[in-house]
């Protein structure tokens, strides 16, 4: 025993191992179970993100400028396409306004305060992307002082891009929908078809080879057609109903031919954005 404890190198190695696994286990547990990380870590992350803003804003400006060039390149074909759609849009907008008013009145009539479709939004700009292989995180410049909470869904432009995984005081981390994680990152969703039968499932996986999202646990595949739109269903309580995810790309059976997976082309362009929108659901779900 005397000899063992006199070996300094062995003891250092032991301490390193214990510290490593201890730290890792504790922080993973905190991230999975607690609403916010410990105060020290929050303050540290906030300071780093505030300073990071100095570097992030010029980078975002360059990024925006470069995406404007490619936009310019595509303008002609896009313009043609958009002109064809614009009349339809005006009509839809008028209809939406009428229906919204009607919906509001009916809700008042029923004394229904908030439903699954009600939500408010907060805008935030992206500070950086995690340089890590398996945690596809974005850091954004809004935090718990802006009313953000863990697990709120995040949109960019036209579609869902992920969910908040860590909230600090004035910054937060967003886990992208393209993360392949066993535990998180699942969205209860449904396919909008022409009829009334709702086809529900869970968007749970990202196929990195094809760049498609995968919806599993689909209850029926009878009426699914390519091009149908997929929205969040609002079941599960954390995500409001009606956030646009993408369009149906195709159906594949798994290796055993047992279950069907619906492949989805994501609506959000996951590369060229610098601003994201956080969705705050008005209905408080399960805590």
């Amino acid at each position: 025993m005397q000899k063992f404890f006199s070996n300094k190198k062995l003891i250092i190695l032991m301490v390193i191992l214990i510290v490593t696994f201890g730290l890792l286990a504790v922080t993973v547990n905190i991230r999975d179970n607690k609403e916010t990380p410990p105060a020290v870590q929050q303050v540290g992350n906030d300071v780093v993100s505030v300073v990071g803003g100095i570097f992030a804003y010029p980078t975002n400006a360059v990024k925006n400028a470069s995406s404007e060039f490619s936009d310019l390149y595509n303008t002609y074909t896009e313009n043609k396409h958009l002109k064809a759609r614009i009349d339809e849009l005006a009509q839809n907008q008028a209809k939406l306004k009428v229906v919204q008013d009607e919906n509001k009145k009916l809700k008042e009539e029923l004394k229904l305060n908030s439903t699954l479709t009600d939500y408010t939004t907060v805008n935030a700009s992206v500070l950086s992307r995690s340089s890590s292989s398996w945690q596809s995180y974005l850091t954004i410049n809004r935090g718990s002082t802006s009313g953000l909470k863990k697990n709120m869904p995040v949109m960019s432009g036209n579609g869902l891009i992920g969910r908040i995984i860590e909230v600090d005081k004035i910054s937060a981390k967003v886990e992208l929908i393209s993360t392949n994680n066993e535990l998180n990152d699942k969205f209860a969703s449904e396919i909008l078809d022409s009829g009334n039968n709702a086809i529900t499932g869970i968007v749970s996986r990202y196929d990195s080879a094809s760049g498609k999202l995968v919806m599993e646990n689909v209850n029926s595949t009878k009426n699914i057609k390519k091009g149908q739109r997929i929205i969040t269903s609002g079941l599960g309580g954390r995500t409001p109903r009606g956030l646009y995810i993408g369009k149906v790309y195709g159906i594949k059976k798994d290796n055993y031919g047992m279950t069907n997976s619906v492949y989805i082309t994501p609506a959000a362009e996951l590369r060229n954005f610098t601003v994201v929108t956080i969705i705050k659901s008005s209905v408080s779900g399960e805590e």
Partner: protein, 180 residues
């Protein structure tokens, strides 16, 4: 402020810049999320760390840099503490331990040391994350799609920016004892 403190401030600023460059590089240029299996992780901070470690002889100072920047890196980019916090100081002590073998640091040596450090760091992170079930990638996919492209990209970058970086870190560390 005497010359020594000024040099230390310079070194810290250098490392902080490299730290932010990692995230910004990934965000602005290597953001291949929609398609493609390959994953390139910029590791510019590790470059700065290797260059600084090759030039500083004070092991306490090296350990302090490793632990502090490791903690910040873990907390800001990974959300899990214990990956860089442990691996970075280990790499720095390792380099410090074996650098007496090189009479004079030149590009070939430093390139190969950076290669080894990067391989060790990425494999270490992979093993730890695999143990904690943060990923389910298998070893061959990790080597083909993550380690390979990352090494290639970072080696090319190191090759391109070696001369200015090496001169800068020379200037940040060395000073004549009589110039106060």
């Amino acid at each position: 402020m005497n010359i020594k403190t000024r040099k230390i401030v310079g070194q810290v600023v250098f490392l902080i810049l490299a730290f932010y460059l990692d995230g910004l590089m990934k965000w602005a240029f290597l953001n291949n999320m929609n398609t493609g299996d390959f994953m390139i992780l910029p590791q510019i901070m590790l470059m700065a760390i290797v260059l600084i470690t090759m030039r500083i002889d004070n092991r306490r100072q090296l350990l302090a840099y490793g632990i502090i920047f490791g903690l910040v890196y873990d907390s800001y980019y990974y959300g899990i503490i214990g990956l860089y916090t442990v691996l970075l100081p280990l790499i720095m002590v390792g380099i410090d331990h074996f650098k007496f073998l090189f009479v004079k640091a030149n590009m070939g040596y430093e390139l190969s040391i950076y290669f080894l450090a990067l391989t060790f760091l990425q494999s270490g992170i992979y093993v730890l994350e695999r143990l904690l079930q943060q990923t389910n990638t298998n070893v061959f996919d990790f080597i083909t799609y993550v380690l390979g492209p990352t090494l290639l990209w970072n080696m090319i970058l190191f090759f391109v920016i070696y001369v200015p970086l090496a001169n800068l870190s020379d200037w940040l560390v060395k000073y004549r004892r009589d110039s106060k």
